[in-house]
């Protein structure tokens, strides 16, 4: 399984070790792994954020993430990839997303990890609602993530 939605907290490093082991990526085939972990901040747009709720579209979100992983592996020539994304209530300091890409060499691993993350930000149906001291608000857009943005 390459994609998982999690309603509770997860340990990205433990998940990573498990995935590597399950997929035999720790036996000499993969020479490179690139990992991105996104964590909830306690501030955004100049305001403190106390909690966050991550809404998703059951069925479409999983399908979207699986399609992103599959097409990225094909396009980048990477060996394997793994995505975990939180849904529901989240507290500051908790990890929201893990993206890991495994490849023979570092170039493919870096490229695949970044490509999955950027496609997820652009296409995967998740919506953040932040709880601030001034009330709740829906986040209206994502920050640019590409190097040349």
């Amino acid at each position: 399984m390459r994609v998982r939605l999690s309603e509770g907290t997860f340990d990205p490093w433990q998940e990573l070790a498990g995935f590597r082991s399950r997929h035999g990526l720790d036996r000499g085939k993969a020479g490179a792994a690139s990992v991105f972990v996104g964590t909830m901040r306690d501030f955004n747009d100049g305001q403190g954020v106390e909690r966050m709720f991550l809404e998703h579209y059951p069925g479409m979100t999983e399908r979207s993430l699986e399609a992103i992983v599959e097409s990225t592996l094909r396009d980048c020539g990477a060996l394997e990839a793994f995505v975990i994304h939180r849904v529901g209530d989240i507290a500051p300091g908790e990890d929201i997303v893990l993206v890991a890409a495994f490849a023979t060499h570092r170039a493919e691993a870096f490229t695949a990890c970044r490509a999955i993350m950027e496609a997820l930000k652009r296409d995967a149906p998740f919506w953040k609602r932040e709880s601030t001291p001034a009330g709740d608000r829906w986040v209206s857009g994502n920050t640019p993530g590409s190097l040349d943005a």
């Binding site: 996104g38 998703h56 579209y57 479409m60 994304h85 997303v97 296409d123 998740f126 919506w127 829906w138």
Partner: protein, 75 residues
């Protein structure tokens, strides 16, 4: 029957999360919005047909699930 879903802040704006309508002839996604919501489409509105992103001109058939939502903000 066409199933129509709304998500996030958009669901709060339209006042409901789900509804259904009879699929008429030559119905497209823009027509679904028109029949269900009626007001002008928000400029950054996005839509999906049967769990895939689509354009507003996408044809809609009986049994389809159509979703409307704001730009996504995951990750």
């Amino acid at each position: 029957m066409v199933h129509v879903k709304f998500f996030a802040g958009l669901a709060e704006q339209v006042g409901f999360r789900e509804t259904t309508l009879e699929a008429g002839e030559a119905l497209d996604v823009a027509g679904v919005w028109q029949r269900v919501v009626g007001s002008e489409r928000p400029s950054r509105l996005r839509c999906a047909r049967n769990l895939e992103h689509c354009d507003f001109g996408e044809p809609v058939r009986d049994g389809d699930e159509i979703a409307f939502f704001p730009p996504v903000t995951g990750g």
